[in-house]
Amino acid sequence: MFAIDRHAWANRWRDRHPGERLLLAGGGLLILSLLPVFTTAPLILLVMTIATVAGAGIPVRDLLAFMAIPVGFLLTGAPFLAVSLDLNDGIRLAFSPAGAMTALEVTLRSLAALSCLALLALTTPVVELVALLRRLGVPSAIVEIMLLIYRLIFLFMEQAITGQHAQAARQGYSTFGRSLRSLGQLVATLLQRALQRARRLETGLAARGFEGELRVLSPVHALSWPRLLRIGVLLGAVSLLALRLDRWLG
């Protein structure tokens, strides 16, 4: 249903411990936050893209598809930063060199951060990341709810799409007013079906001994210390290079 999810379950790193990718992407985001953007961002973008495409084997086309929507947001949002608004003398818009610098900085940082997000999202099933939250002290009830939400999303999504198809087949979206009405009916129906599903799931799980907790076996992915070390070295090298370039550029 979601292209991102499909890759997350089927990429070259599928059987590796999610902590490794979390370190790579999270470390990338961290040094991006701490070090000078103009030299760090291009390096992060480069490293993450290579890791995603050459490492995890995600097709370039799909990586670009991932970036497309947020980049669209960036292209419409960033120019606003380059424009200044003068309120003293009526309302006057003007190009601002300082604003343009900010816009460039934001664009670079966003692209680099996006590449980190892409690496993580395209290579790691959401549920494996959620399972890590338990270790961070998130209550198990919350984690269980998150895992259930993940499962139910696909179910409800399909119902929503099918429901819209059914309404479209009966001209439910022929005018604006009818579209609104159809959508309202769809949402109300989906909500009721969602609540029904919760009740039926309760019966189904009761048959399997459900007493409140949703305990399941966790997948066994061994954490590879050599790989963690290599990721650490890579991030360190990126940091050093970024700092060196920054000093060199003055």
Binding site: A166, Q167, A168, A169, R170, Q171, S174, R178, Q185, L186
Partner: protein
């Protein structure tokens, strides 16, 4: 052979998660006939149906309605759907209103008909499916079989020339199936073209005029019901099987017990039993 009312040419379609659903599919729907799309789970039946009423747009290929290539702008889709109605498999997916009459009026009102006209259409559609007595009932209190019929009525009320049904008999008990097929036959008698998908080979053999066998996103064979089901190897490769009545009739012919022509094999339990009875009467005389 008359001109097809619907024609699918070289349809290709992949879902957003890259699952290829249709891979160069060709299909012709003859006006006024019952066409079964017979295929195993995952063979692309539902995806094809969604193309036939313009819900999904093929990556390659095209659909023709009355010979015209169909467009996908809003106006074209609206006109298309007034001619081609689609009933989905699960009635829960298509009933949105509190009462039966309200729900059935959804399509006609969306077509821009007046309240009075819509009311006439609702009465007509409910009557033709013999569920006029359900009009005032709340939809959520209906039985599964009733919901199925109400969902069909919702499409009929738009008076489409072609009605497409996804697995219309799925989940119905023998009584419910007989009831539904009776209503559909009545519909065909009034000139409506019927297309339905199923994985039930016995149903397709007993009930369809024409059959298209689907496998892996293609139509593997299309012809009259008898022609399409003749090749048991093809059926096996499509994860299907020979219909029970056809298999037994063939065994009885092979054993010399029965005679029937390839053009008119027995297609229902009733026909086969009748054939057996006639033969024994002959034998006795």
């Amino acid at each position: 052979m008359s001109d097809p009312i619907l024609l699918a040419e070289g349809l290709e379609y992949a879902y957003p998660d890259a699952v290829m659903a249709l891979q160069g599919l060709n299909l012709r729907v003859q006006p006024g006939r019952r066409l079964a799309l017979l295929g195993a789970n995952g063979s692309g039946k539902t995806t094809l149906l969604l193309h036939l009423n313009g819900t999904l747009r093929p990556a390659r290929g095209q659909v023709r309605l009355d010979g015209q290539i169909l467009g996908y702008d809003r106006a074209a889709r609206l006109a298309w759907r007034s001619r081609v109605g689609l009933v989905l498999q699960d009635p829960e997916d298509q009933l949105f209103s509190a009462t039966v009459a309200q729900d059935v009026s959804f399509g006609p009102l969306n077509q821009g008909l007046s309240d009075a006209e819509a009311r006439t259409r609702v009465d007509e559609a409910l009557a033709s499916l013999r569920i006029a007595h359900l009009a005032g009932r709340p939809t959520h209190a209906l039985s599964f079989g009733q919901k199925k019929r109400v969902a069909i009525a919702g499409i009929l009320a738009m008076r489409p020339a072609v009605v497409i049904l996804d697995e219309p008999t799925a989940g119905l008990d023998p009584h419910g199936v007989a009831h539904l097929l009776g209503a559909l036959r009545h519909l065909q008698d009034s000139g409506t073209t019927l297309v339905f998908s199923t994985h039930d080979v016995d149903l397709a053999y007993a009930w369809a005029d024409d059959i298209a066998i689907l496998g892996a996103g293609r139509v593997l064979r299309q012809g009259t019901a008898v022609e399409a089901l003749a090749d048991s190897n093809l059926l096996g490769s499509a994860h299907l099987r020979t219909p029970t009545i056809l298999a037994l009739a063939t065994a009885l012919r092979d054993s010399g017990d029965l005679e029937w022509s390839d053009a008119q094999p027995p297609r229902t339990q009733g026909e086969l039993v009748e054939l057996i009875r006639q033969r024994s009467v002959h034998a006795r005389n």
